[in-house]
């Protein structure tokens, strides 16, 4: 630190002393000269610039720039709010602070309340009240916090002797996904085992001597063949489902003339000797090309029209219409006249292996995967699937698919590329 008595101060003090002496010499009283001396000295000292004042900077070496400020920790409440999951700070078993998602889950009133009141779950209460230092700090699972079906994982972090940070992580989705996976495996193995069991049964019967008679043998072989075909169809469906799912993040890039695909599918169905094929009523309107995958679109049409043929009343028309819906979408709809579907079942129709009437569906040769495949194809095409049904009247399945970009369409018309996939 610089000394207070710089040379300027010393000169000023000297000058004031000289002035006082001159005053004394000129005949002023000693007292007044002393007062003047002391006053001047005091004035000099007061006026002496402190070393930190900016006035001194011109004579001193410039200060080094202040070091950059260390980032300070933001307040705890800010950190809490930044976490999207419910977090509580518990001090002395009372909720000291809770972020807004904790308040949304457990209620606004929890701050200041006992932690058992905030998280009312026996397992949580036991875990939070246990102060034994050797206790396990593993996360515990709470069912029914919030709503009955919600599942949470609770992690507790000890911060200091009496402060704990309680972190809740929602696990409802994981649980649901896991259950769906288990259900799917169970369903798939059940569906595969049914035809297999019947094939095995018939083989055994044939071996036991039923094969001697030509008629019986023929009948049994036909049943076995049908069951084997059913199994094959199911495996094909499962494979295409997994293939579509694997590709779902890659939108199809080919351009497809949906009118041509519809005509092709209708022609195939008419050639299949199904009596219902004569009721197909294709009214394809003018519609630009869409962006899609030809093979998948053909499968989609087979599944939707196949359903309409199976579940519509005999000799009622199946109307297939295609038209442009605005500038960006093509609207394909397939309407049948039949029993329709009850609204309760409607929401679950696209689940795998979900059947409104399982016996009837199997008798018709359904695999239970048709609409699940349709849904996945539509999803991959970034389209929309809509199923409307009036019980007793009939069902209309509508699919919206995005059109190919108009600029590219013009380019395609000049090159007219062969679209295959």
């Amino acid at each position: 630190m610089e000394h207070l008595f710089t040379w300027r101060v010393i000169i000023a003090l000297g000058l004031s002393a000289i002035c006082a002496l001159i005053g004394l010499a000129l005949g002023a009283s000693t007292a007044s000269a002393l007062i003047a001396l002391i006053g001047a000295g005091a004035a000099v000292l007061v006026a002496a610039p402190s070393p930190d004042l900016p006035g001194m900077e011109s004579v001193r070496a410039p200060l080094p720039p202040p070091p950059p400020q260390e980032p300070t920790d933001p307040p705890a409440s800010e950190i809490l709010e930044a976490v999207a999951e419910p977090v509580l700070i518990v001090a002395h078993n009372r909720v000291f602070r809770a972020n807004s998602s904790a308040c949304a889950l457990l209620g606004r009133h929890i701050v200041g309340e006992d932690v058992r009141l905030a998280i009312r779950h026996p397992a949580a209460a036991e875990h939070l009240l246990n102060t034994d230092p050797g206790r396990s700090m593993d996360p515990i699972h709470l069912v029914g916090l919030g709503t009955r079906e919600q599942r949470w994982e609770m992690r507790v972090h000890q911060a200091g002797a009496k402060i704990r940070i309680v972190h809740l992580i929602e696990r409802t989705g994981n649980y649901a996904a896991e259950r769906m996976r288990v259900d799917f495996v169970a369903n798939a193995s059940h569906e595969l085992r049914t035809p297999l069991a019947s094939i095995l049964g018939f083989i055994e019967t044939l071996r036991d001597g039923a094969g001697e008679e030509a008629d019986t043998r023929e009948r049994f072989l036909k049943v076995m063949f049908d069951e084997a075909v059913r199994m094959q169809r199911l495996i094909d469906d499962l494979m295409s489902l997994s293939r579509i799912e694997a590709e779902k993040y890659r939108a199809p890039d080919a351009e497809v003339d949906l009118n041509a695909v519809i005509e092709e599918v209708c022609a195939e169905l008419r050639g299949s000797h199904d009596p219902r094929a004569n009721d197909l009523d294709c009214r394809s309107g003018k519609c630009p090309k869409i962006r899609g995958d030809r093979a998948q679109l053909s499968q989609l049409l087979h599944n939707i029209i196949g359903n309409a043929m199976k579940y519509g009343r005999p000799d009622t028309p199946i109307r297939i219409t295609l038209r442009a819906d605005g500038d960006t979408m093509a609207r394909l709809s397939v309407a049948d006249e039949g029993e329709g579907v009850d609204p309760d079942h409607l929401v679950r129709l696209t689940e795998r292996f979900y059947r409104v009437d399982s016996g009837r569906s199997r008798a018709m040769g359904g695999t239970g995967l048709g609409l699940a495949i349709v849904k996945h194809i539509v999803e991959r095409h970034r389209g929309r699937l809509d199923i409307a049904s009036t019980p007793g009247k009939g069902t209309t399945v509508t699919v919206l698919l995005p059109l190919a970009m108009s600029s590219q369409r013009n380019a395609d018309e000049t090159h007219s590329p062969e679209i295959t996939s």
Partner: protein, 231 residues
């Protein structure tokens, strides 16, 4: 609620409420667990529920002691007094709810379903209605929310109606299947227990309402709990 000058008083009230929430959580999950044990015919789980009831009883004693100490030492006034008195009464009721769960668990060995007692499938639905009421009323207690308490009381009507319909179904079932009459009788008691759980949830709701507002909830219109059969 306003803070008190004596901080220890706030701590005691917080502790009291925490104890009741703990009891409530235990009673609620005991009812749910007893229905799961009944459905799966899980005797071990049933025994665990019966043993677990002791914990609820111990908590009730703790609530009583704390409430009496609070009244003796702090001489609470106005809403504080209502809070303590309501806590004392709620603890007694929640303990009863725990007893009903224990009673249901006791009947698990007596009901061996094997899929032929059709009305058994009705009980879980009724149980979920009753536990919803308990859950909601404990939420209302935690939030000191009188409106939610009124809402719980309104739900009781549905539980009563459910009980009446189960009663009829079970009596019909008994007439048709005299062989399983003792199992059906046990189920009738379970249904009655669940109906009582709903009633007790209403009692808690009334106390929550009283503690929060200082007024009694108006006389409720009670459902006809004893169905008259034979015509």
């Amino acid at each position: 609620m306003m803070e008190h000058t004596v901080k220890a008083f706030d701590d005691d009230i917080g502790e009291l409420r925490g104890l009741i929430a703990h009891m409530g959580g235990l009673a609620e999950s005991a009812i749910e667990a007893s229905m799961v044990a009944l459905r799966r015919h899980d005797l071990e789980a049933a025994q665990r529920i019966i043993d677990g009831d002791k914990e609820i009883d111990a908590l009730e004693t703790e609530v009583e002691k704390l409430a009496i100490r609070l009244i003796a030492l702090r001489a609470p006034m106005a809403d504080d007094l209502r809070e303590v008195v309501a806590a004392l009464k709620i603890a007694g009721v929640v303990e009863r709810i725990g007893d009903y769960a224990k009673n249901i668990a006791r009947r698990v060995p007596a009901i061996d379903d094997r899929g032929h007692i059709e009305p058994l499938s009705l009980l879980p639905a009724m149980a979920s209605m009753a536990t919803d009421m308990v859950h909601d009323v404990l939420d209302a207690f935690a939030a000191r929310d009188p409106e939610k308490a009124v809402h719980v009381c309104e739900q009781d009507r549905a539980v009563d109606d459910f009980y009446n319909s189960i009663f009829r179904t079970l009596v019909t079932f008994m007439m048709e299947n005299p062989k399983s009459i003792s199992q059906a009788a046990h189920m009738l008691f379970i249904a009655k227990n669940l109906e009582r759980v709903g009633d007790h949830a209403t009692n808690v709701a009334e106390m929550v309402y009283y503690a929060a507002t200082g007024e009694y909830m108006g006389e409720r219109e009670t459902g006809d709990t004893v169905p008259i059969m034979g015509n």
